[in-house]
Amino acid sequence: MLLAGCGGPQSTLAPDGPAAQAAAWLWWGMFVWFGLVLLLVASLWLVAWRRRPRSYDAEQARQVGLRWILAGGVLLPGLSILVLLAFGIPLGLRMLPLPLGGPPPLRIEVTGHQWWWEVRYPETGVVTANQLILPVGQPVDLELASADVIHAFWVPRLGGKLDMLPGRRLTMRLRADRAGPYRGQCAEFCGSQHAHMVLAVEALEMADFNAWQAARRVEPAVAREHAAAVRAFRPYCGECHRVAGISDGRRAPDLSDVGARPGLGAGTLEMEQGAMRRWLREHQRLKPYNGMPRHDRLPEDTLDAIAAWLETLVP
């Protein structure tokens, strides 16, 4: 029952990587030990309060006090924290991006924006947004940066969090032990839409991962029925959004593979039939104050055409 309550797409207690696993073990250990300590202190208090009073002279009381203070106030916390530190420090060290024996791990650059994630694979030049695809079983070094305010990168089932600071680049080492989807979310308050800054993470087998990258290195072709949509898109949306081979905007998420992503608006909407159309029409209602202007100036059928085209952007 207790363990069933531990699950969840973003639960720190359902770990699937070494860093998260270690933190979860720390939790369970501390939970049990500190639970006992709390029980002990509370029952001592209750007994002391409700038992039949006995009389102590000043010297006896001093003795009792000294014994209790030394045992409960000095030894108990002193030993507990010594043990904790002995466990905690080596575990923390193992979570750091230390040099590995073999080849250096895969690097991925993740940049936080208000309120979306930019993800770049520097070795292949692949760019995507709001989703992070990893090879399974491999250590990966994420280079974290921010384009505006402070954000924090956090995929609880894989490991702890690290801030994304303007002007700095911090490295986080993660490893996913099982293929499948994970959920990440910005953990440092970054403004009104901090709640809708979700990162869809997926760990793929190495072959799938390579195929995923390869597919994204091919520029998408535009079918004839979408030519009008592309013409409308380029001068208007293209100012901020990049679509490989079509536009070069950098201010907003890269849309080159948007049709293949699991969601829209950094976790605001799930990608399903009609989601893109809904997003384009209602995004300021769904995710108020997001950086994209309302599209009231565009005729509705143009908007729908753009949506229809974007949905086809599946490498």
């Binding site: 924290i81 530190l85 420090i89 060290l93 750091l96």
Partner: protein, 111 residues
Amino acid sequence: MRPGHPLQLALGLIVWSLWLVAVYAGLSLGCLSVRPDAGLGVGSWLNELLGLLTLLTAAWLFGCAWRLWRTPPPVLAARRFVVRVGAWVHLLAAVATLFVGLPIMALPPCL
């Protein structure tokens, strides 16, 4: 400072605070002067330096605690109180120095 001076109640922990500032600043400056990729591992000169500072500080604090403990009890009750509690404060500061300094033995400095 005289053993019965009221500032004895704070002196030990003031020294502890200065020590903490010194090791934290020393660590930052040390790591600044050598890049982290210089391969400073556990037991590097920086660890040794910080460790030495820690040991010296702790030894001095233990010494103070011992000195106060051995002071013949002053006549004035208030001074007796200051000497006794002052000894404990120094002891607490010494233990705090050693405990907070423990990680110096276990961690590389600049990662």
